[in-house]
Structures are given as structure tokens and as C-alpha cells.
């Protein structure tokens, strides 16, 4: 395995050179005030998951493998969608399940970086797996106040998505991860700022260019991001994470970001319709080494719609009231 | 009907005008009990030079028991204009207070009374301010113009 802490300088070089896969002919356009233009509406929906699933051995997969994966996925959706025959009622004791797949938009194909199909978002460590440090992880989580409660005892014990505080599964990031639906982002830039709005939950990351970090006593839900331009590449550094946003659970991935983590992201426009998004997570509280992931943000013509989550969050009350009812 | 209201109004204005003892900021009659007169002598421990009324805290030792009285005066602003400031009354000076105790005789934290007449033991006024004619100076009398 690599040395425990990859020196950040090397890490940064690694982050930047990765782009060689792309042809250099694309000329990045500039905004009205001269910054490289990343603006537009983007999506990161894809079948590829954060960690490599057992069915793939290495990072780059052939086209056929990609097609079979897409086929399996669509068949899976159909099966899920029609698990009941016409007129049949669900049996007791089974997993209650979710809802029809029409509600979902997890993506139809594996992601492609350049012309390579990828089996995982993680590109380092090489095995495409999160480099957990089991001992450190147990120790860090043991200090979490919430461990000694049942998950239905208090509202603060539900996931951040269920509480409608931020999108589940780190949809808004950092790092920004594909989830089951609403994988949509809008980027708008103005002098000194890059703003990334994640549809879920209308969370705007306002990245201050050449800015200084907030004092330690301030810990916004999505951390505090400052950015700078390295040529045409935007490098964003985020610290000051909120201790309640440690678990980043999606249906197809789970990872954790401790409050002392440092995350470096880069955004590199590779064509009119694509941005290469790469991130590096340095979090010695939980992981043996830094880990790096990479995925494209693809242009999409669709609009971002309002995702007012808290205003209609009946689920939270039902969950807690249900638990109380069961205790009686 | 008309003249009854008239009588009420006239009698009311007379009543108000006549009762010269209504202190302007608030009616002392509402706060202090006419049946609880006091005549105490004690050491000043603190003076709260605050509006709307200054409060002189006096420690009174009687028959082995010490009680602290809060004695209500008037607005310190008039005294400032007569040269009095927060150092004028030093803690420890002995004064005589004659007045009435407050209606709520709780004495929590301190017994409360109005300083109807506050003098030094020799009878001279603690709070001087009058310009010799018994009426305090206010710059309106040309003869006083400094």
C-alpha cells in the first residue's frame, strides 16, 4: 500500500497530470471578467459506484463489459419495478422496499474519462476501495454522542438527508457524489467567486477565490471552501467540516469525512459538454492514506428544479411517531 | 348629565393641582405608606446616582441589629447642575433620614423609604442647591447670571 500520508505536493501533481488522457486541442472559454468558464448545468449520474464492485478486477474496463453492466442494470430496474404481479398484494414480513424506478435516475451507463470506461470512481488506492483504518475509525466513532441511542430516539440521529439538512450520500459534497436521483448541479461564476448549486437540497457552495479559511470555531454543513486557478484548472480546498455531517451514506456507497478532514477538488473543462471532476480526501482520523476519485460532469440541457425538502418532510415525524407507537 | 361631568372635571383638576405633594415623576403616595413614618440615622454605604431617582443606601445600627435602608431622592441631574458629583457624598458619612417606608414592607433586598428630609446630624441639609432664596438656581434669574 502507498505510504500512509502521500505528501500533498505530490498529491497535487498527481491531481493535475491525470488530465493527460484528454486531447489538448480544447480551448477553454473565458467569463466576461477573464476566469476560465465552468458555467452551466451539469450532472454526475452514472452506474459506476464510488468503490469497485467485485465483478470488476481493474479500473479500466472494455466496452463490452460496460454494455453488459448497462444491460444488467436495466433488467434489475424492471424486476424491481414489477416485483408484484397484476393485482397481487405485498406479503407481510418482507422488506418494505421503496417505490417504482420511474422516480429514480441513477444513470444508465458506466462513466467514461476520456475514452476509458471506469469500474469505480476511486482511482487511488489502486484496488478502488476506501483505505479505511479500522482501529482509527472505531476510535473516532466511539466518541460520537449519538452512538448510545436507538436511531429512532431523536431527530438528530437520522441521516442528514432524512433530516433535510443537506443532500444524502454527499450529493452536495465535498466530495460531490452521484446518488439515486437529482444528480444535478449548476455552476455560476462572478469576480472572486465560483458558485456550485446542488439540486439536493438547493445547497450552494460559494467558493471564495484567493480567500482565507473561516476561523476554526465555524463549521458549516458542507465545510468552508476556498479556491484558486492553476492555469485553466480550478483547485478548491475545503476544511472546517461539521461533526454531524460525518456519515455520507448513499444506496450504492458509504464513506465518512471527519471534522478535521481536508478535501482538495479540481475542476478542469475538457470539452464544451464535459468537466473533469477529481477529488482527494486527506482524513487521518479515519483512513490509512489519502484517497482520490475522478468522474466527469456532463452538460445537461434540463433545468434544476426546486427540491424543498424540509417543508414537506412528513417522513421524519412518521419515523419518530412510529417508534414511539411501537414502544407503547 | 352635562354639569355632572363638568363638576367631575373641575373637581378632578383642582384635586390634582392642589395635591402639591405629588412628586412629578411618580406619585410618592402610591409607593410609600403614610402610616409607616421613619426617622433613622446611619452611615451611607453607597449612593446610586441614577435616574429617575437617586437612591442613598444607609446602614442603620439599632439595638444591635443592622438594617440597610434604600432612601429615594430625586433626579440627580438637578444636583449635578449645582456642582454635586458622585464623589460628593463619601461612604461612611452619617446622615439623618426622615420619611415614610414603602407600602410593600418586604425589605428584600433592602428596606425602602422616601427621603422626605435628609439632613446631617447638625440639621443642615445634605443636598444643598438652593440659591439662598429657598428656590434652587436655574439660570432664569438675571441677577444670578454668572
Amino acid at each position: 500500500m502507498q505510504s500512509r500520508v502521500m505528501p500533498t505536493l505530490l498529491g497535487l501533481v498527481f491531481l493535475l497530470t491525470g488530465g493527460l488522457v484528454y486531447s489538448d486541442t480544447y480551448q477553454v472559454k473565458k467569463t466576461w471578467f477573464g476566469d476560465p468558464d465552468l458555467q452551466g448545468t451539469w450532472t454526475n449520474s452514472t452506474l459506476t459506484t464510488l468503490e469497485r464492485s467485485a465483478s470488476f478486477k481493474n479500473l479500466v474496463v472494455s466496452e463490452e463489459q460496460a454494455e453488459t453492466a448497462a444491460l444488467i442494470a436495466s433488467q434489475g430496474n424492471d424486476a424491481y419495478d414489477n416485483y408484484l404481479k397484476q393485482g397481487e398484494t405485498p406479503k407481510k414480513g418482507q422488506d418494505v422496499g421503496g417505490y417504482n424506478t420511474a422516480w429514480m435516475d441513477p444513470g444508465t451507463k458506466l462513466l467514461r474519462v476520456g475514452n476509458e470506461y471506469r469500474s469505480s470512481i476511486i482511482i487511488s488506492p489502486k484496488n478502488g476501495k476506501l483505505p479505511w483504518d479500522a482501529k482509527k475509525r472505531r476510535e473516532y466513532f466511539s466518541k460520537d454522542l449519538r452512538r448510545k441511542f436507538k436511531r429512532t430516539d431523536h431527530p438528530e440521529l437520522r441521516g442528514v438527508g432524512e433530516r433535510c439538512v443537506v443532500g444524502f450520500g454527499s450529493s452536495g459534497g465535498p466530495p460531490m457524489m452521484n446518488v439515486l436521483y437529482n444528480n444535478n448541479y449548476q455552476i455560476v461564476q462572478s469576480p472572486g467567486y465560483v458558485m456550485i448549486m446542488a439540486e439536493m437540497i438547493h445547497d450552494t457552495r460559494i467558493i471564495r477565490l484567493e480567500g482565507a479559511h473561516l476561523p476554526e470555531s465555524m463549521d458549516p454543513w458542507m465545510g468552508d471552501s476556498t479556491g484558486r486557478w492553476e492555469g485553466d484548472t480550478l483547485v478548491v480546498e475545503t476544511t472546517n467540516f461539521n461533526w454531524q455531517h460525518v456519515h455520507r451514506a448513499g444506496l450504492r456507497h458509504y464513506f465518512a469525512i471527519s471534522k478535521d478532514a481536508k478535501i482538495t477538488e479540481i475542476f478542469k473543462r475538457t470539452s464544451n459538454t464535459e468537466i473533469l471532476y477529481r477529488f482527494r480526501v486527506d482524513d487521518p482520523n479515519l483512513y490509512k492514506s489519502a484517497w482520490v476519485g475522478e468522474m466527469p460532469l456532463r452538460a445537461q440541457s434540463d433545468k434544476i428544479y426546486e427540491y424543498a425538502c424540509h417543508e414537506g418532510n412528513y417522513a421524519m415525524k412518521n419515523i419518530l411517531a412510529g417508534a414511539r407507537a411501537e414502544e407503547k | 348629565m352635562k354639569n355632572t361631568l363638568k363638576i367631575i372635571a373641575i373637581s378632578f383638576t383642582l384635586l390634582l393641582g392642589a395635591s402639591t405633594y405629588i412628586n412629578a415623576h411618580h406619585a410618592f403616595t402610591a409607593e410609600f405608606d403614610p402610616n409607616a413614618p421613619i426617622n433613622i440615622t446611619g452611615k451611607v454605604i453607597k449612593v446610586e446616582w441614577i435616574n429617575p431617582h437617586a437612591w442613598v443606601h444607609v446602614e442603620v445600627k439599632e439595638a444591635g441589629k443592622t438594617t440597610v435602608w434604600m432612601v429615594e431622592g430625586g433626579t440627580p441631574n438637578t444636583l449635578i447642575r449645582n456642582g454635586i458629583n458622585k464623589k460628593t457624598i463619601t461612604p461612611g458619612t452619617v446622615i439623618v433620614v426622615r420619611g415614610y417606608q414603602s407600602k410593600g414592607k418586604l425589605c428584600l433586598p433592602r428596606c425602602i423609604a422616601n427621603g422626605r428630609d435628609v439632613t446631617f446630624p447638625d440639621g443642615s441639609k445634605v443636598f444643598m442647591g438652593s440659591s439662598g432664596t429657598g428656590a434652587p438656581r436655574d439660570g432664569s434669574d438675571p441677577r444670578e447670571r454668572r
Binding site: 430516539d153 431523536h154 438528530e156 473561516l214 476561523p215 470555531s217 465555524m218 | 458629583n85 458622585k86
Partner: protein
């Protein structure tokens, strides 16, 4: 460009952008910058002079997991919550003496009982400047007078040093002079009853405050206040912020005499049953 050279440029542009040459500032009496107008800050200094995250309420009690709002203000919900804010204190934190810091933290714990603002008491200095209400400056050659919307507080800035204040007071005694184009105010004679914000930051009656009002352009003014109190702080410390001028229909001070709004709170228990 070398770092120093680059920094030189940013300062120049900063000064240039913000503070048009003194000669172009609107002129008041004796050719000094015209401070007249209705002014207000746009920051969260009144919540807490130091940096603070947003939080559920000013008065928090222990909750099962995270602190929750005090029962008596819970019903306010998000209206009672506190917005986040950067520190306005130069150097970040206030240099308290050890036991004074303990008292400040106790103040913060008992905000509901102790903050004079809750009882609509006069705000004192410099808090009056950054209350969430505007104030109007009357700048004439004979006096410079501040009228605050909050609780009808006022400050008459004497134009000569009147010497020591005869009595301690809530708004203190102030006198001011011009240091080139900055109006400097020396304030003292305070009692020890006011707070600097809603987070328990306090002072003794030895407090001395030196304020600096510098007109930057037609619509903004730089405000600085250096606070000195040997009894409570290890050294003098300074806060800095910007005052924004209200224009058009907003530039009219309204009345907020909050005494009548707290009669129920202060005297309710003595109502006739």
C-alpha cells in the same frame, strides 16, 4: 510579481476603490467630511463580536444530543436562531483576564436573565452603533449629535473636553475632535451595566472607548472602536466595521421606544390578579 509588489498593488486598489480621494468626499461644516445621515451596520456584531457559527438560539440548554433552545424561547423556532458571523475584533478574540472570561461565559449561559437589551435598557457604547436599528447623525458646527432608533438612545458629542463625567451613566460622556478627515470620539463615565453584544461580553465602570468615524465615500463610513478597561481586559482591543448610509424612503428614523414592550416582562408578576 514579487509578493511585496503585489501586496502594494492590492492596498492601492483597495484604498482607491473604497475611499475616493478625501477631496471628493461630501463636505460638512468647517470643510470636514459630512457625517450627516441615517446610518446602520450590516453585520452580526450585536449577536457576538467574535466569530460564531449559526446556532439554534441565543440561550441554549443541554439537549439529548446537541444543545437545544431554552424552553421559554423555543416557540420562536428559526426566528430565534442566531446567524453566523465573522469576528469584528482585531486579532479575533477579546483579551479577557482569566476570571473575567469566566464571568463572560456565565453571562452567555444566562443570556435571558442578564442581557440588558432584553429589558430594553440603553445599549451603551459601542453597542449602540451596531444594534440592528439605524441611527441618525446631526453634524453641525455647534454639536455632533447621535439619535438612535433603539430605545430612543442619544449621544451628544461635546466638541471640547469637558473633563471627568460628574456621574456614571448608561451612554457615558463623549467628546470629539477631528484627526484630519477622521472624527475621533473619546467616551468614558460609563456604569458597568451594559454589554457589548448578546454573548455576555461585558466591562466595568473603568471603561474608556475611543471611536473613529472615517467617511469612505458618499454611502459608506469606516467605524473603529478601541476598548480599554484594565479591570476586565489584559490590554486594549479594537473592533472594526462598516456603516452603510440609508437613502430615499429608508433614510427616516422611526420610533422604537421598547420600554412599553417589556412592561409585561418586568412588571407582569405584580399585576392585580
Amino acid at each position: 510579481m514579487s509578493l511585496i509588489y503585489r501586496r502594494f498593488f492590492t492596498i492601492l486598489s483597495l484604498v482607491g476603490m473604497l475611499n475616493i480621494a478625501a477631496s471628493e468626499l461630501p463636505k460638512g461644516p468647517n470643510d470636514k467630511p459630512n457625517l450627516n445621515g441615517v446610518w446602520q451596520v450590516l453585520n452580526t456584531a450585536n449577536y457576538n463580536l467574535e466569530a460564531h457559527s449559526a446556532s439554534a438560539a441565543m440561550d441554549l440548554v443541554v439537549g439529548p444530543i446537541v444543545p437545544v433552545p431554552h424552553p421559554s424561547i423555543l416557540a420562536l423556532g428559526a426566528v430565534g436562531a442566531v446567524p453566523a458571523g465573522l469576528s469584528v475584533v482585531e486579532g479575533g478574540t477579546i483579551p479577557y483576564k482569566k476570571d473575567a472570561l469566566k464571568k463572560r461565559n456565565e453571562n452567555k449561559e444566562n443570556w435571558l436573565q442578564l442581557d440588558p437589551e432584553i429589558k430594553c435598557y440603553l445599549p451603551g457604547v459601542p453597542r449602540a452603533t451596531y444594534m440592528p436599528y439605524p441611527f441618525q447623525i446631526f453634524h453641525s458646527e455647534k454639536a455632533i449629535f447621535f439619535a438612535y432608533e433603539y430605545a430612543g438612545a442619544v449621544r451628544n458629542i461635546y466638541l471640547e473636553d469637558p473633563g471627568e463625567a460628574p456621574m456614571d451613566s448608561w451612554m457615558g460622556q463623549s467628546w470629539g475632535y477631528w484627526d484630519n478627515d477622521t472624527f475621533v470620539v473619546e467616551a468614558s463615565g460609563f456604569n458597568d451595566q451594559t454589554w457589548f453584544d448578546r454573548s455576555g461580553n461585558f466591562h466595568s465602570d473603568k471603561l474608556k472607548v475611543t471611536e473613529r468615524f472615517t467617511l469612505l465615500n458618499k454611502h459608506t463610513m469606516g467605524y473603529e472602536a478601541t476598548i480599554q478597561d484594565e479591570e476586565v481586559f489584559t490590554k486594549p482591543w479594537t473592533i472594526k466595521m462598516t456603516l452603510y448610509k440609508r437613502i430615499g424612503q429608508d433614510a427616516q428614523l422611526q420610533q422604537f421606544k421598547c420600554v412599553e414592550f417589556v412592561e409585561e416582562l418586568l412588571y407582569g408578576k405584580w399585576r392585580a390578579k
